[in-house]
């Protein structure tokens, strides 16, 4: 690995760790100290407006309905989420954010906007385009890796294939 590539790999890893750490710290010291990062991401997936079905929300988060049910139960108890039956089809249960849930959603999205603004501000329009395109490529690659690991392929085979490249 070239020195620049090594520095880049280390910075990338540091960003992953520190964004999560900072989010956790901001949560524990802020207005929503009873929420975990995972719960905040569930709130984010439900979104502030139209009520969603459990299936839609589970798909956005890439988790099973069983896992989501446990998370939603906890968020209902903490008064961030409410469940209601569909007015037309009583078999369908929809979930939406309470006022408190919407506030947590807004505050969390502010954290990400402040971070993006701080990174974007010193850059030219051209640099912003290049950075956005690069970040999108990284995102696509990471999502592909996630799919590979969650598709049931043998873990050892994936690791072997990847190290052979």
């Amino acid at each position: 690995m070239e020195p620049l590539e090594k520095d880049f790999a280390e910075s990338l890893l540091s960003i992953f760790d520190n964004v999560l750490l900072t989010e956790e710290m901001a949560l524990s010291k802020g207005y929503f100290s009873d929420l975990s990062i995972a719960e905040l991401h569930t709130i984010n997936a439900i979104g502030p407006y139209e009520a969603r079905t459990m299936t839609e929300t589970a798909n956005i988060l890439g988790i099973t309905i069983g896992t989501l049910t446990v998370a939603v139960d906890r968020l209902v108890k903490k008064k961030y989420v409410e469940r209601q039956r569909d007015t037309k089809d009583r078999r369908i249960v929809r979930i939406s954010l309470t006022r408190q849930g919407k506030l947590a959603y807004r505050m969390h999205s502010k954290f990400h906007r402040v971070l993006a603004k701080r990174i974007f501000d010193p850059l030219s329009e051209e640099e912003r385009k290049i950075l956005t395109k690069t970040i999108e490529e990284i995102d696509t690659f990471v999502k592909e890796q996630y799919k590979k690991y969650s598709s049931g392929e043998q873990y050892k085979k994936i690791v072997r294939d990847d190290t052979e490249v």
Binding site: P48, E50, K88, K102, L103, R106, M107, S109, K110, R113
Partner: protein
Amino acid sequence: MAVSKKKTSDMNENEEKSASAKAPSREVVFDTLTDMLSELLDMKKSDFAEDTMIFEELPLDSLQLYELVVDLEERFELQISDEAIEKIRSIGDVVNMICDAGNN
């Protein structure tokens, strides 16, 4: 769109038209907004005017700002984006934003 009228999935076209026909008057919006601000900040309604600068003149923190936004969305059935919030300077700007969304 930065600020838009909230649509519910059950709304048909006629209901949408009648919803937008019931756009609130400027006086109603100003009155509701100053009610919310006076409760949120424990200030008198007479402390607020259309030209009051929200961030410079009022002790509003970011959580209180979002409380106001969420309550306005609920009260006027709107969706207010972060971009729209960033453009707000005065109480009059908020009133304009809500009246314009109601007329669209």
